[in-house]
Amino acid sequence: MPGLEFIDIHKSFGAVRALGGVSFTVRSGETHALMGENGAGKSTLLKILAGIVAPDRGEIRLDDRRLAHSSPRDALAHGIGMVYQEMVTFPNLTVTGNIFAGRELTGRGGVLLEREMRLRTRDLLARLHLSLAPDAHMGHLSAAHGQLVQVARALAFDCRVLVLDEPTTALTSAEADHLFRVLDDLRQRGVTILYVSHRLPEVFRLCDRMTVLRDGQYAGTFDHELRAASRELPAATDEPRAASRELPAATPEAIVRAMVGRDLPARPAFSGTAHTEAVLRVRGLTRAPVVDDVSLDVHRGEILGVFGLVGSGRSELLETIFGLHAADRGEVFVGETRLPAGSVLGATRAGVALVPEDRQRQALLFNLALRHNLVLPRATTGRSFLMRSVEERAFSNELVRHWHIKAPGIEATPDRLSGGNQQKVVLARWLGINPRVFLLDEPTKGVDVGAKDEIHEIVRRKAVDGAACLVVSSDLPEILALAHRILVMREGRVQGELLAGQADEESVMQLATAPVRRAS
């Protein structure tokens, strides 16, 4: 039983080869992971599968029939449902409206069958264990519910293959767990799932087999034996089992090696520099209702990790320190300077830098060249009215070279870069003005394994150079690997502090979920 076959898919955009002959098979009924670094060709392959772009050569076959589709609508009609990474939904419509958007059920004379659609929505939501009203407004839903409504949309049209592109980037771990249970459930019902993700733990939790792409080439398929053995699908026992013996076993090391093309260096141990001088001092910082009486010190050369679940006020804390919002109460000092409340310019001039959570929305200017993006903080913190092109070019080129940013040149716009390199641009431009306090909000969100390592290295180097670093992340292993000290937040308050040596995933999670201590 063949399932979904990719046969020798080629695709180039101008001179750039995105896919150079990719072939692999997703067996009917299995959950198959598609992995690879940014720029490996995953997105292009998904776009071809969704009918958004046409391949130059090669074909996709579903159950031995060649797929000739030319639009996402066609793909859905052929039984391929896509759940996109970013929410492609209509925030102004209801859940029902979203599920049936473009394919509304109509009666005689084109009249919408509202009742029928609402009933089917209720059904679908129940299948996904979602306690949502069919008439709820999409704009009011959380990211997780938005994702699941997309799954419901795919199911509404009886899709046989469900494709999910990085579905957990915006989800908390509890929400992700719900999604995983739904996917397990769908797998039991025989839905074929193609799951695209960077995150190894998820892929090992969910998938039977994993295919890795690297630089537009097929880099191997791995068999996750434990998972495959626990399969409860009777049909897939004899023939594929024999074939699967041929495949290398999936281990995190093997997959990372296939994705990166080399072994990653072991994480360097922390020297834990002497904590003497507190560079950043926050005293009783309050901004109702998101930040509640937070005090902290970050010393010279120290990396302080801040962990908390979604809604714990971590990002808001950084934004308030950075002056994006004026605090109701409390003070922030950099060295001996007290920062003016609610002034980004004041903070940046005192040497505070913020790498925000969402680089596309909050950091990069896609209408301007990389060069302009790279000089932005220097230009805004500087006091010169004139721009000097020659100096700017030299400065940008130096940043690109020094931080190993892979780009077609400093005159290219940022959309030509992979996610990891875009993130490096955002880091590098602040590093260009030598910040004393470096605030990072989810610095490795949506970047691949290789870039993640490089970004961690950049933060460590900056700390060694004497900056005080404050890293917010919902990626617990990242916090544990990077931070000297970990603060845990919940509902805008600091719940506790752990030293790197004492902290593990369990102790941090315990603090993050424990009831809030209210000051008496």
């Binding site: 994006l324 310019l345 950091a363 200017l365 209408n367 301007l368 903080p377 805004t380 721009m387």
Partner: protein, 323 residues
């Protein structure tokens, strides 16, 4: 050929090419039939006429382009032109003021309108479309209230053959337009302020996170736009000799069209000051030439509409190919 291709690559280059093609086309179309040496379109005084009338649009289009690059829109320039002409004209004709203070008062109309719009956009947080739509009504209305239906015949107080600073009066509008265009083009590309305008238009949130003061940048662009419209109004009053509350009706759309034809993107972050001026000239040439073709005046508005769409579509194709 490659040099021509490179010229097209620069956005102002392709706008200039369209202007030249337009001039060549009408030069051919309006070529006098038999031997008479006089060409009704291609002659010095007609060229000056085109420049003179286009400048009224062109000066305001510089401001419109800057507002559009910052991601905003300004619907008020037509009204500001009219009010500025009324204030300058009224003070000269009825107020008995001398020239310099009358001009200053006319320009002040622009400053006040610009501050009003900035207040509405930044403090009251109205969308620019609504804020400037409201300002358009208020400013236009102020003109009607001040004049009560009167019309100030400025040409009465201006001596015939007047040459301020030794430059013939008719040369003033194009000279003002060209000088302002060069100044603002340089400001947009040589000053941090100009880069900040492009940044705010490209990604307002990212600009905020980089420490750019959105309030300051937005105030500056609406102030510049309204003040340049007032310059247009003052020039109109002095050169065409009138101050009237119903002048420049509907000019705001032609002014926005000039900026867009010159490469400004209504989604912000893209555009050029020189392009906007060339856009105003494209429309000026078009109106002038059509007026000389018998019967074509009825088609004037329609042709202008088609030209806007064709040029923007061509631009999109060029941008796509360049990317």
């Amino acid at each position: 050929m490659t040099r021509f291709a490179r010229l097209l690559r620069v956005r102002e280059g392709s706008t200039l090419a369209i202007l030249l093609i337009e001039i060549v086309f009408f030069g051919w179309y309006l070529w006098p039939e038999s031997g008479s040496g006089y060409h009704p379109f291609l002659n010095g005084s007609n060229a000056l006429l085109v420049l003179k009338y286009s400048s009224i649009y062109g000066i305001a289009a510089i401001g419109a382009a800057i507002v559009i690059i910052s991601g905003g829109i300004d619907l008020s320039p037509g009204a500001v032109i009219a009010l500025a002409s009324v204030v300058t004209g009224g003070l000269l004709v009825e107020g008995g003021w001398s020239l310099a203070p009358s001009i200053a008062a006319g320009l002040l109309v622009g400053v006040v309108s610009g501050l009003l719009i900035s207040l509405l956009v930044i403090t009251v947080e109205l969308p620019p479309f609504i804020a400037t739509l409201g300002a358009m009504g208020i400013v236009r209305g102020a003109g009607f209230i001040l004049t009560e239906g009167r019309y100030f015949d400025v040409s009465r107080v201006i001596a015939p053959g007047w040459r301020p600073l030794g430059i013939p009066l008719d040369w003033w509008p194009p000279a003002v337009m060209i000088v302002l265009a060069i100044l603002f083009q340089m400001a947009m590309h040589r000053l941090q302020w100009g880069r900040a305008v492009y940044s705010v238009g490209g990604n307002e949130t990212a600009a905020l996170y980089s420490g750019i003061s959105l309030g300051r940048i937005k105030t500056s662009v609406y102030l510049i736009s309204a003040t340049l419209a007032a310059v247009s109004g003052v020039v109109l009053a002095l050169v065409q000799g009138q101050g009237k509350a119903d002048l420049a009706m509907g000019y705001e759309l032609d002014i926005i069209a000039s900026a867009v034809v010159g490469g400004a993107s209504l989604s912000g972050g893209r555009g050029s000051v020189i392009g906007a001026v060339l856009g105003a000239l494209i429309f000026g040439v078009l109106r002038n030439a059509l007026a000389q073709i018998p019967g074509a005046t009825f088609y004037d508005r329609m042709i202008v509409g088609v030209v806007v769409i064709v040029i923007v579509v061509m631009d999109q194709i060029l941008v796509k190919r360049g990317a």
